[in-house]
């Protein structure tokens, strides 16, 4: 961001004017205020071109998921319909991209494009819901462990160690065989296995923040533990949490694809990227069948990862003192 960027000055001034309800006329001095750390982070993020490009890609993928029925409407192909006559060649092989099936068909004659669009729904739902669950559990556990310390910390730290020692895939596969494999189990498994890393990050942050003088000051005034945790500590750990959240979404998406690839995730015939990649395994000559779902997965995770990096840079404390 260049110094004296007129657009930013205007936005900062309007934000200041909006949040100040002090009596009396606005002074010139009052107009430079109101730039919260959030606003600074947002402005830094906005100047990060790669992050913005990825944000656009993410929005496009979300739109694709929301408007998946539109793909069905345009092509006239429902995601689970098998076109034995038009979708398969005479010897029963999938057809490559053509004017009817833009991205080709799969081994049972379904439209790959429509299935990718519908598959985006599963990926995004799992990515968002599992991540949300993960972050919620991790933040609560991390806050409690870091703030209360002593016994609470010891017990929670042991639980985290136990969680980290359970083999992920083995647990997921056995769980999927006990319960009926499906979206809920996938989300549950992903959340159960990722919250400990969030908890560790939050705990570490809380450990350092609770020794700050402003936490002591709050205690000296008479603030209770809950108030200190929520009002004084949480806002100071929220930045790393947000960064981790944006980086966790692609991990969850890949995790879901992995489980579905292994057949313990979302069950057929629901369209899913991981499953499509799995189905394509025996059909290496039908490259479109493997490449397009993989590409969708790659682009989605890449976009989230680069965007997450951008968010991390935006929240970087080293650029905290940017007054321009």
């Amino acid at each position: 961001m260049s110094v004296g960027d007129p657009e930013i000055v205007v936005s900062a001034a309007s934000a200041g004017a909006g949040s100040v309800d002090a009596p009396g006329p606005e002074t010139a001095a009052a107009k430079i205020q109101g730039r919260s750390p959030w606003r600074l982070a947002y402005e830094r993020l906005r100047s990060d071109r790669a992050a913005i490009l990825c944000a656009v890609v993410i929005v496009l993928i979300v739109l694709m998921a929301i408007f998946a029925p539109v793909f069905q409407w345009i092509t006239g192909h429902p995601p689970n319909h098998q076109y034995f006559d038009t979708g398969l060649s005479l010897d029963g092989q999938p057809r490559g991209p053509n004017s009817t099936f833009w991205l080709g068909t799969d081994d049972v004659g379904r439209d790959v494009l429509v299935r990718i669009a519908y598959g985006a729904r599963v990926s995004l739902i799992v990515g968002v819901v599992a991540t949300f669950l993960t972050v919620t559990i991790g933040t609560i556990v991390g806050l409690a462990a870091g703030y209360f310390g002593k016994m609470v910390d010891t017990v929670l730290a042991r639980i985290i160690d136990v969680m980290l020692s359970i083999p992920f895939l083995l647990f997921a596969i056995s769980l999927a065989s006990i319960f009926r494999a499906g979206l809920k189990v996938v989300i549950f498994v992903l959340a159960i296995f990722s919250w400990s890393s969030v908890a560790r990050i939050v705990r570490g942050q809380v450990l350092s923040i609770r020794e700050r003088e402003y936490v002591e000051a709050a205690r000296a005034i008479g603030a209770g533990s809950w108030r200190i945790m929520i009002i004084d500590i949480l806002p100071n750990v929220i930045a790393p949490i947000i960064v981790y959240t944006t980086l966790l979404i692609p991990v969850s998406i890949v995790g879901e694809a992995t489980l579905s690839f292994l057949g313990v995730g979302v069950q057929p015939p629901t369209a899913d990227w991981g499953q499509m990649i799995s189905d394509a395994q025996g059909n290496y000559h039908a490259w479109w069948f493997l490449v397009f779902p993989s590409l969708a997965l790659l682009v989605t995770t890449l976009a989230f990862n680069i965007f997450g990096d951008g968010v991390r840079d935006a929240f970087d404390p080293r650029s905290d003192r940017m007054f321009n």
Partner: protein, 365 residues
Amino acid sequence: MSVNGDAASSGDVLLRVDNVFKHFPVQSTSLFRRSTDAVHAVDGVSLEVRRGETLGLVGETGCGKSTLARCIMRLYDVTAGRIEFEGRDITHLRSGAMREVRRDMQMIFQDPYGSLNPRRRVGSIIGDPFSIHGLGEGHDRKRRVQELMELVGLNPEHYNRFPAEFSGGQRQRIGVARALALRPKLIVCDEPVSALDVSIQAQIINLLDDLQDEFNLTYIFIAHDLSVVQHVSDRVAVMYLGKVAELGPVDGVYARPRHPYTNALLSAVPVPDPNRSRERERIILVGDVPSPVAPPSGCRFHPRCPKAKQRCVTEIPELVPRLDDPPVHVAACHFPVADGENIADSRPEISAEERVVEGGLVGNV
């Protein structure tokens, strides 16, 4: 405020610290070996603070000043001893009852950058005491906060700013406003000016002075700057390694320091007059401050004391009036410094080996 022998006995005691200990256990690195070592941060301190006075607390870094302050504020639980506020034992009060007491005792912190939450607006930081104690709502609270801001010399229109938008001195004013919000009786100032420029220090000290007159405040003023303490205090307590070395009216202690440590501290105060400064002989202490994990036997100061004798190694000196001092001026020294005595020339009577006590000078921290 007159502080003499009569006032000491009849004075209205606001806070009484009675033989307070605070030990921090040193964490053992081994899982199976239980460590019994502890940092003796505060080791048997007794003090009284009278209503309306300012008690200065001086000593070098690590002598336990701040720990004592946090024990008084009940931010730390004491290991042993008793703290009385307005005649009420608050040593083991539960948090609910303690919250009531906190209305009457507040604290100003050393670091104007660390003591304000960077993510919160100044208005809500200063309004915290009101919201925690359920005083005032909405506009009423805001009006009160802005009154406070005005009182400490801040622009009330800066209500919605973040701490990062203020200078160090202004931030310390925010800290003062927050401490003042509930109109406390006692304010513990933990090195409130150490982190500030000298010119700003004067402003904050004058502010604290004015507020004391206006609201009849009692201060415990912690500092390592002896001139600042001399300026603000009525009485002064000198701490060394968790113990009070000397305590008395500021004039008495500064004019006739009895403890060799007080003498050494005072001799290190810069004198603005170069001629006098050249004449004066500084007392250079040998060695470092011993480890508070294994403090020296007898008098804690004996390994560094130029007047140390055999008795200092074995016998802990009591904190009593020495020589012909009035009863309010007490020092913990077997061989107090007489008026006009120059201890820069003194040499200890005990050998270097004897000065190294069991437990070792170099602790295992």
